[in-house]
Amino acid sequence: MNESALFDLELKVLLEAVYQRYHYDFRDYAVSSLRRRMRQAMQRFECERLTDLQHRLLHEPEVFAQAMQFFTVQVSEMFRDPGYFRVLREQAVPVLRTYPSIKLWVAGCSTGEEVWSLAILLQEEGLLDRAIVYATDINPTALAAAEAGAFAIDRLAQFSRNYLQAGGTGSLSDYYTTAYNGAVFDRRLRRNIVFADHSLATDTVFSEVHLVSCRNVLIYFNRELQDRAVGLFRDSLVHRGFLGLGSKESLQFGEHHAAFETCSREQRLYRKAA
């Protein structure tokens, strides 16, 4: 067995061990990117072999907590891919407006950039008061950051550019105050957001929602786990509910592609088929 095959074997065993020890299931994560992140974790925790990392993860829960950032990926911006938010405004909002109350689910919300973006969009469209936004993730540290709604000041220029390109009707600065090198978003936006732990790998449907936004999360899953997650979205969505994916994610290679029709191919907005 060569080095590369040994590494993959160690990785498989590590993921099984983590699952049994902590009930976090990364066994069906896309292995191509996980390999790289595990190598980075080995460096970070000064482990020569993946087996050494497994040993530390199993015996030192605080190391596992810190290692979460290597199992999951936190990369986002507010109004990332502005065109996506523009399409939400143009195509989803007019439909959402027809309901007396709406529920939206940001699945895999990470550190919350997209959740706060969506809250601002709903606020500007006069829908936030009748909305509940579920923001879920498996990473407690990321979820706490999402809930805090505080972002480094040097990221705000990019966020503002995105906000305007996304069709924002005011100025992003209407929604935050700055303090200590950070921008803290208005707590009033938070009033209808529910932050909660939820795993697309192990949990089930928890609510009926009108829109699911799950962007650049599925890319970290293998096809089987993608099918599970998209199945959950289908089962969570109301009749003709919306599903938004990341700009390079697609339903066409998965088993549920026939359950959805395309609203915007460019911006990866789909709608549950009738």
Partner: protein
Amino acid sequence: MSPRPLPRVVVVGTSAGGVTALGQLLAALPADLPVPVLIVLHLPRDRPSRIAGLLDPGCSLPVLEAEDKQPLRRGTVIFAPPDYHLLVEDERTLALSCDAPVVFSRPAIDPLFESAAAVFGADVLAILLTGASQDGSEGIAAVRAAGGLAWLQCPEEAEASTMPAAALQHAGADAVLPLEQLCQRLKEMFS
């Protein structure tokens, strides 16, 4: 000794000067190429890329931008999209990721080459062309460590010599050639 089996995938990395070099490389690919060609060209992260559409007319194979979990098919040329790493997930599937940039770049060459080596082992042909970055060196090392082939554009001829020169120094190569000869050898390999 039995002859070396043909590679099952060709991976290409390039940066500064890469558009012209790739135009030449893709024009040399035969229409019946029995393997997929995966390419990372360093791109600005904040806007769509037109590279696939630009190079498609000059190539006898379809030239596409990757989507996540796209099937890996022979005779197609796949580019990494802006702001995503392109990876080989398994022998039949590609994957994308938003993992951290490598040497300031996403997409980056190292993740593609390393993932190809992890999946296809010795059956990889990696080609590193012109570029003004160190990206690709680790990838070339990974390909060679797995027994795969590494071809570099001759640094003296490359529009930007840093990238092939860095890889040559870091990992060595199975061939260091001017682009035209490199294209010729590629054609011969699969004819």
